[in-house]
């Protein structure tokens, strides 16, 4: 029982870290991994999702519906931003750093001015359960499941649907996709919207577990970028294994040496993985496949 309890504890921790990395990264995997837009406002999309979720729940909606509202709202904001700003920057990916940084400043401070420096949260739903020596939050299991569902859905969307094929074509050679009859403007817009909506979903899912402040998105962004980049160019063959590898390393080091070691070891793992696999994990997986 001792061993079982310890084993479950570790799996739970690794799963928790995995879920956090996947959910933090999934929106970015599309916006950055696929579209090449370095979206420094990713955290603010997450914040948007979280805030809207909290408002919706406070207005009386049940949490799942609240999260849906948050997802939708972030998606709509994403589409709006795509139309106004990002659209003009696809052939200049590095400039997106500046533009999205600007957007991030506006969003964080704007929310601070409009809604105040902090807001009351909604409290974590479900209760706790005990396994062996420890008690755990059930809601965290929901987060893990959500991460897996999101990954599967994305895989299906991008590899099995016409939209997915068109999106990838648009991102690789936009003018050719256009010349072959793909409405690339629409595709860009929807893809960006999807990425933003996923960020919003993440915000909604984590909203009950976190303090609501305008800068809350910042805690996701580093992990998100690291996961996407370690994953490499292919979003789905990349993000999931990257999150798994980093999640296990982080959980192991955190339980062994504490949070700082967990954080630093994750960063060092990033450096090493990229050194060994200069094109990321998916670059390596796809290397011989042709």
């Amino acid at each position: 029982m001792e061993i079982l309890s310890a084993l479950f504890a570790f799996l739970y921790q690794a799963g928790d870290a995995f879920a956090f990395l996947v959910l933090a990264a999934c929106g970015l995997a599309i916006i950055f991994g696929m579209m090449g837009v370095i979206n420094l406002a990713h955290g603010e999309f997450i914040m948007c999702g979280a805030y809207v979720t909290v408002f919706a729940v406070r207005a009386g909606l049940p949490l799942p519906l609240g999260i849906a509202c948050g997802t939708l709202a972030a998606g709509l904001v994403g589409i709006l931003l795509e139309l106004l700003v990002v659209r003009h920057l696809y052939n200049r990916p590095l400039d997106t750093i500046v533009a999205t940084w600007g957007i991030s400043l506006i969003a964080t401070q704007g929310v601070l001015i409009l809604l105040g420096s902090t807001m009351r949260g909604v409290g974590t739903p479900l209760s706790s359960f005990t396994f062996g020596d420890y008690s755990y939050s059930q809601y965290r299991l929901v987060l893990m499941a959500a991460a897996v569902v999101v990954l599967v859905l994305l895989y299906l969307i991008f590899n099995k649907t016409r939209f997915g094929v068109h999106a990838r074509a648009t991102i690789q050679v936009p003018h050719m996709a256009e010349a072959l009859g793909v409405n690339t403007r629409l595709i860009y817009c929807l893809t960006f919207g999807l990425g933003s909506a996923l960020a919003g979903l993440t915000g909604g899912l984590y909203a009950p577990t976190m303090t609501m402040v305008p800068s809350m998105g910042a805690t996701f962004i580093m992990e998100a970028f690291v996961t996407v980049v370690v994953g490499g160019a292919d979003v789905f063959l990349g993000t999931a294994p990257a999150a798994a590898v980093l999640g296990v390393i982080k959980a192991a080091m955190t339980s062994w040496q504490g949070q700082l070691a967990g954080q630093i070891s994750m960063l060092i793992a990033v450096i090493i993985v990229i050194r060994v696999l200069p094109n990321g994990i998916s670059g390596w997986l796809l290397r011989e496949r042709g």
Binding site: Y12, G123, D133, Y134, T209, Q259
Partner: protein
């Protein structure tokens, strides 16, 4: 008559804004009152306010600006310890005078600085013995992994030992960490009687929600929560239940002075989310300064320090009586033990009057004699001699 110029550098945006905005309001409120009543020795107060955006480099830029260009008489500045350390060399260079109105890890021995916030010896020497008596002797600390957290943890360790307790664990969390599943598990493993949470920043505050969700119910103690970040108002009950905090003021303090203060405040700032201890510190600091200037007959730093050296600069603040200790130039406080209920209501099981910031003076810092312009800790005390 020329006005008395007070520079105000506080974080009105960025990470720390939640806890700092009320500080600016406190200063403005006191200023308005004093100006209405005729000013400081007949001179009006003029505030020069800059937003430092929770950014240390802005403190450097703006501290130089208020001292060199705006030529203020005194500066009220800083929330985080890092920001204080960023501007301190500049205050020293220009021989200015700065008030740091913030609860912090203690130990700054600098003639250019006056500190009105509470320090660990005031908060922990009261809180920990009380909690150990009530809940047990096994203590676990989780603390932010930087100076404030580490030094506070050092204090906890020392006081627990002095009172015959046992540290069963200590964990430091880097700033910006928001996920605590592992930490929660570590705490469950050793089953402490008391959990000291010395977490800082909005990201780390997520701990409470997550611990509650995992059904962790160890009585908690802290020197920062409630009094600074009013978590009991922001979080959904019962995530902060069973939290114990020693603070020199919060808006729930139920004295006539406090009530009068609150109603003045609410009249001016009806939308203030919360009036925290730093807000009250900043408010009464203006009155302390007024008294110093009036007694010194000047805003000259040395003359003011001469007044402080007499050891009787005191005001009746909303919290109670506050005096400036001449050796360390820190303030003595009334310390309230605030206990958070399951519905996040506050009760005060105990109040200590006139707790002195004794440690620096005892350890050898004496600003009436010499000015080392340094920060000390229990494990790095002032050199003897």
């Amino acid at each position: 008559q020329s006005p008395v110029k007070i520079g105000v550098l506080e974080d009105q945006s960025g990470e720390f804004a939640a806890a700092t905005l009320p500080k600016v309001h406190g200063i403005e409120l006191a200023t308005e009152e004093i100006n209405k009543a005729g000013g400081i020795a007949g001179r009006k107060i003029e505030l020069v306010v800059y937003d430092t955006q929770s950014d240390n480099t802005r403190y450097q830029e703006m501290m130089r600006r208020v001292l060199q260009r705006d030529k203020v008489d005194v500066v009220f500045a800083g929330f985080s310890s890092a920001s204080r350390e960023a501007y301190r060399p500049i205050v020293n260079q220009f021989n200015g005078l700065a008030f740091y109105n913030n609860q912090y890890e203690g130990g700054v021995c600098d003639a250019n600085m006056i500190v009105t916030g509470a320090v660990p010896e005031q908060q922990f020497s009261t809180l920990i013995p009380w909690m150990m008596e009530k809940y047990g002797k096994k203590v676990y600390t989780i603390a932010a992994d930087y100076n404030f957290g580490q030094i506070s943890a050092e204090w906890v360790r020392q006081i627990v030992k002095e009172n015959g307790g046992e540290m069963v664990g200590e964990e430091f969390i880097p700033l910006g960490v928001s996920q605590f599943s592992q930490t929660i598990q570590n705490i469950q493993r050793v089953k402490p009687d008391i959990l000291m949470t010395l977490l800082v920043g909005t990201a780390q505050a997520s701990y409470y929600e997550q611990a509650a969700a995992a059904n962790l119910k160890v009585p908690m103690g802290s020197s920062v929560n409630v009094g600074q970040g009013y978590e009991h108002k922001r979080f959904t009950p019962p995530s902060l239940a069973n939290m114990h905090v020693t603070t020199n003021y919060i808006e729930e303090v139920d004295t006539p002075e406090s009530k009068a203060f609150i109603s003045k405040w609410r009249a001016k700032y009806p939308n203030e989310p919360y009036i925290n201890q730093e807000a009250e510190n900043s408010y009464h600091a203006i009155y302390l300064y007024k008294q110093m200037v009036e007694r010194a007959g000047s805003t000259d730093r040395e003359k003011i320090r001469g007044v402080i050296a007499k050891g009787d600069v005191c005001v009746d603040a909303p919290e109670g009586k506050v005096c400036i200790d001449p050796k360390s130039q820190h303030a003595s406080h009334t310390i309230y033990l605030a206990q958070v209920g399951a519905d996040h209501s506050i009760t005060f099981p105990k109040v200590w009057n006139d707790i002195k910031p004794y440690w620096l003076g005892d350890a050898g810092c004496d600003l009436t004699k010499s000015d080392p312009s340094a920060q000390y800790t229990p494990s790095n005390p002032p050199p003897k001699g």
